[in-house]
């Protein structure tokens, strides 16, 4: 009997559908609420399938809250951080992986050590630093913080991918008269595009999703990112739940898109980075 159940082909699909169904309930509930008019939001028992879907919550979100500027701030901070971290990370990962030099092991250990320091521990000293630099309530403060938060993991991901890079390809290029930097630009980067994309996407998502540093460093809509904007809206006495869900959905949008468009990169990057830990 047990053999029949565990050996059956339908079992994995059934359990997966049940488990994923439970896990998707919050996503479903947020999505439908975001498209509900007020009279379907504030009723009990709740309405499972909206009768009159509307985009009113999204419209009010941009009207009642400075959501446009939250989004702009998030995009600027995230793109800048991702660009800097990816560029510096490619160089560092390539160097750590393909060249033997004296401090290589020390550098690697520093990176792993950095991953163990809880970001919450460094929040206070980082805040002191930001206030000394006069960067409180600026986009620059968040870019600096997110570089710290994402750089070590990005390097570890790229190093682990470069470790399996065919060394012969680089050697052949050098024999053909390519410089080492030329080999990096012409051979290594194009061939490892997927690895670099993995690291860049994870950096992008972590930066976009970051909350506590942004919350402490910023205080006005001119610098606040979308995560802080969403939270600020919940701080009001009365919570407009359909607008709140519209905001949550907007804040989660990059994540949702990347999960469906670049799922393979995400999985590979996370697995590679985690096992290096």
């Amino acid at each position: 009997m047990i053999e029949k159940i565990f050996g059956s082909r339908a079992l994995p699909y059934t359990t997966a559908i049940i488990l994923l169904g439970l896990m998707m309930l919050p996503m479903y509930w947020t999505t439908v609420t975001a498209f509900k008019p007020d009279e379907e939001t504030y009723v009990f028992p709740p309405v499972y399938f909206p009768h009159n879907p509307t985009i009113e919550p999204f419209r009010l979100l941009f009207e009642d809250y400075p959501f446009g500027s939250y989004l702009r701030n998030s995009i600027v901070v995230t793109l800048t951080t991702t660009l800097i971290v990816t560029a510096i990370g490619v160089l560092a990962g390539y160097g750590l992986s393909q060249f033997k030099f004296r401090w290589a092991d020390t550098l690697l250990w520093i990176l792993i050590f950095t991953r163990i320091i809880p970001p919450l521990s460094l929040l206070l000293p980082f805040y002191l630093l930001i206030s000394w630099l006069g960067l409180v309530d600026s986009l620059a403060s968040m870019i600096l913080a997110n570089i710290y938060l994402t750089y070590p993991f990005a390097v570890l991901i790229m190093k682990s991918f470069f470790d399996s890079f065919p060394r012969d390809l680089i050697d052949a290029a050098v024999v053909d008269g390519c410089s080492r930097t030329g080999a990096l630009v012409k051979i290594v980067i194009p061939v490892s595009a997927t690895a670099i994309a993995s690291a860049a996407i994870i950096t992008y998502l972590w930066t976009w999703n970051e909350f506590i540093y942004a919350f402490v460093f910023t205080s006005t809509p001119s610098a606040q990112p979308v995560t802080v904007g969403c939270f600020d809206a919940i701080g009001d006495i009365f919570v407009n739940w359909n607008q709140m869900c519209a905001g949550s959905l907007t804040a989660a949008l990059p994540g949702i898109i990347f999960v469906f468009v670049a799922q393979r990169y995400l999985v590979r990057g996370l697995a590679a980075g985690a096992l290096k830990f």
Partner: protein, 288 residues
């Protein structure tokens, strides 16, 4: 030109090294310094010796938060391991539509933690909550439940919400490990007459133990310092029922503005995280 020029690799790492020195090691140095300073934003800043650590260990709230985070950490890690394992085991056998299933599987990981908190607050809403309604429909409760307003249940609610964000990562690690187990092993065991359960216990489990330990380590470490999701969900309440250690530090920085004690607490968090890592590394080393 020789490829293995000893300076070239270092040169490539130089920009990153500057970042790590200025952005990480310097703040870490500041953290150590500040944990020995009396900086409470009331009195002038002076050297305090071990004063902050003494204050920390004498603080009733510190011990309370330590107890809360222990419960939270164990609960979250257990639920995450169970959920992640169940998901990974069923996903590994799925071939048709695996792209779609896997996308759904990692979706909660990609949602900002603070947004997850907002979403779960809405799910468990005492007035319009969908979970209350579902529990009433299946007959478990008779009237709407205010889980985050209930001193005994709030912790359960927070654990469920936090595990929801952590299960995908655990499932990814375990799934990667399961996929690397050679199918021939199972075939051989099948020929030898081993049943599903004994195949799982004697082939699967030993082979995925290493990655499972990594997943457990990361989940334990990260849930020990959870803060993002607690802030919108309960803010440590009701009546400090979910006042985890991360929230203690958060309060010291945001509310009481006692920077000296916050630094000492930050040092303690770092120490605990390292201790958790050390314990896991020790167990993995001893087993192999």
């Amino acid at each position: 030109m020789r490829l293995s020029n000893p300076w070239y690799g270092f040169l490539l790492n130089l920009p990153g090294l500057v970042i790590v020195l200025l952005w990480v090691l310097f703040p870490a140095f500041l953290l150590v310094c500040w944990s020995f300073l009396r900086h409470d934003n009331i009195n002038p800043v002076t050297f305090a010796g071990l004063g902050n650590y003494v204050a920390l260990f004498e603080h009733r709230l510190f011990w309370l938060s330590f107890g809360k985070v222990a419960v939270f950490c164990v609960g979250t890690t257990a639920l995450t391991l169970f959920g992640g394992m169940a998901l990974a085991l069923s996903m590994v056998k799925i071939t048709r539509g695996s792209w779609f299933f896997r996308s759904l599987m990692i979706l909660p990981w990609a949602v900002p933690a603070v947004v997850s908190g907002i979403i779960w607050k809405w799910m468990f809403s005492p007035d319009f909550g969908v979970i209350s309604d579902l529990l009433i429909k299946i007959g478990l409760i008779s009237e709407p439940l205010s889980i985050y307003g209930n001193f005994d249940l709030a912790m359960v609610g927070v654990i469920v919400a936090d595990s929801w964000t952590r299960i995908p990562f655990m499932a990814i690690i375990l799934l990667a490990a399961l996929l690397s187990v050679s199918p021939e092993l199972y075939e051989a065991a099948k020929v030898d007459g081993a049943g599903s359960l004994s195949r799982f216990a004697s082939i699967t489990l030993p082979l995925i133990k290493g990655p499972a330990m990594v997943g457990l380590l990361i989940t334990t470490m990260f849930s020990f310092r959870t803060i993002d999701i607690i802030i919108p969900l309960t803010a440590g309440g009701p009546g400090r029922a979910t006042y985890v250690f991360g929230y203690y530090i958060w309060d010291q920085i945001i509310k009481t503005l006692n920077f000296g004690v916050a630094a000492a607490a930050g040092m303690f968090l770092f120490f605990m995280t390292s201790l958790i890592a050390a314990v896991f590394v020790y167990i993995s080393k001893r087993e192999t």
